[in-house]
Point group: C2
Chain length 413, copies 2
Amino acid sequence: MGKVIGLKCATCGKIYPPDSGLFTCPDCGPYKGTLEVLYDYEELRKTLNRKNWINNDLPWHYRYINLLPFNDISLIPPLQVGTTPLIENKRLNSKYGFNILLKDDTRNSTLSYKDRASSIALIKALEQNAPGIIVASTGNAASSMAGFGASSGMPVYVLVPETIPEGKLLQLILYNAKVVKVKSNYDKCFDLSMEIAEKTGLYLRSTAVNPYLSEGKKTSAFEIAEQTNYNLPDYVFVPVGDGCIIESVFKGFKELFMLNITEKIPKIIGVQAEGADPLTRAFQGKSSEITFMDKPTTIADSINVGVPRDGIKALKAVYESNGMFISVKDSEIIDAIKELAKETGIFVEPAAAAAFAGFKKARKEGKILPKSSVVILLTGHGLKDPASIKNNQQVDTPVLPPDIEKILKLLSL
Amino acid sequence: MGKVIGLKCATCGKIYPPDSGLFTCPDCGPYKGTLEVLYDYEELRKTLNRKNWINNDLPWHYRYINLLPFNDISLIPPLQVGTTPLIENKRLNSKYGFNILLKDDTRNSTLSYKDRASSIALIKALEQNAPGIIVASTGNAASSMAGFGASSGMPVYVLVPETIPEGKLLQLILYNAKVVKVKSNYDKCFDLSMEIAEKTGLYLRSTAVNPYLSEGKKTSAFEIAEQTNYNLPDYVFVPVGDGCIIESVFKGFKELFMLNITEKIPKIIGVQAEGADPLTRAFQGKSSEITFMDKPTTIADSINVGVPRDGIKALKAVYESNGMFISVKDSEIIDAIKELAKETGIFVEPAAAAAFAGFKKARKEGKILPKSSVVILLTGHGLKDPASIKNNQQVDTPVLPPDIEKILKLLSL
């Protein structure tokens, strides 16, 4: 049950023992040497099949415990995570001539996809009796970890750049996280979090360098398989910053395929914002070499990343699945937020909207086959970042006296 | 299947035909004459039992179609509603010595309980081929209706007082609602919405006067029955403003009891804010006469109601279930928000926190039996109204240079 047999380097392929305590491959360094959690797939293939691979006695995404890196179900935190709806809106299908499925991960407890990773990080920290969890973040990852820590009484320490918006800080403080604003940028906070984890024994939840986070993030692929009754979509669109979500989703599909539970792997399409798209650039050059960007700029703060911490695995996910990377403009992201809200009733944050904008662009440019089926991963709720849309949408509504004739006239009723 | 046989006046008991088009009993007027949707319970009792009353082929709360007022499943909107988690947090149980279950309705699509009502209102409007839906509201009900309207392409018209906060307005505009700010208060908007519905054939979703809204709101009771494996809790705590949610939850429990699907009805506890508690006052006077409050005041805007539109049925729910009404201070509501976030990772808006504050007060005053089981209805997400908590919580975090020693010292690590 959930037996991890090794941690494999994304670049050199060397396999380390699961209890090595390593975060990245010492030979390949922190960016190229991210690790992948390996299970005994040979053994699992003998025992698991489409009928028995899910444990329905457990709640939420822990139902996939056979492919998750823990055994002790008493550690499961009492907070909903995953098991989010896969929405089909027929009007949207007609509009675009595709079979579109919206994976609505705005429905997670702290309103973002990050809950999938935080829930597993919490379990690993509890397993180790860690005195607490440390995370460097500017946003969703920290509030997600703080929420899950709160649910189980695990202290959460957060390092943030001093520029953090007050709203996000408020959420962290309500969840009782111990927050330090650092007079520096995110990268420095990241480095400090690693150093502190090493010195103190705090469990490290900073993104990409902890291979177990992917194990939580891969479960949306499992849910998509279940929800489509194993008729997997042709394409899956994923917003990409650090690259952790896209590589995890690919890993999820790959595992099911390896275990003969599914019959194909969807093409994985990574969507980046034009101002922060080192992976699209690498993809366009048909390369696995990533040129970092110094000053990434996009309104989609969750994917505003110039130095993708999980870039190597993200590129692999796209190359191995015959997918692609695509970049979209901020204006296309804003339009996508408005269109999704207006056409489907789902209000997303900019990063999530980027995935939908990417679908529209790929369709327009003929990069995806007409009438095929696509899943679009909606990774965060619009109320996480109302400012971004407020600055781009006129909130202009007429004020009328309480006169029914005037109101009817204005509304053309 | 979901056959409605009549609409019964809450005060005089007269039964009107379901297609009468009435909103309230003409004899008893708009406050006392709210109507209750009746099914053919005799017939249902013969055919439904614990094994077959749920239709698992349908999604979300539509699984309870046997007790819902529609038949045409093609009208089900493509947006998640209900099927929210019932969370048990063992640390919270130990702290209070009760078996506490948190019904986390912050997980609905527009982040509030109102989605349960809006989903059914939309179906009724679609059934009638209504040209649109009109709602008077200052907050959650309007954004919920707008979101659901968007999901199915149904135009939604909203009348709001001109004082509506910009954030809530933004959400309405994104969902493509046609919004008119009225130079007047909520009550005037309410009256105008009724008048416009009558004149134009728009479907009316203003709260309490439309009996079908309760049918959506009652489904949390059904979920609680299922989720507790029919071992119903002793008490259910519900925040109360207009009184629609509490009467609906009671109706849900009562229907299951009448159909022999459950064996008891939990005691229903209504929680009001001290500055807006006409129902608690009526209850304390052991009366069914409600004295309206002119200027209700509480930070919990969703229950800031002096003239409860569904007060008669709300009082009945409490009297008939041997429950009670209780009022809490705004300071207790703020404390409850903080405690829930800190102890459980669930971040709620003030109205939802009121229910938890009510539980704490009832426990402290010995009004509920120790060690009994309680459900607390958490009706809306904290990010719906971050201002209320921001004004009551110091967001004061130290800023440090990127110096690991100083950071460790500050964090006592």
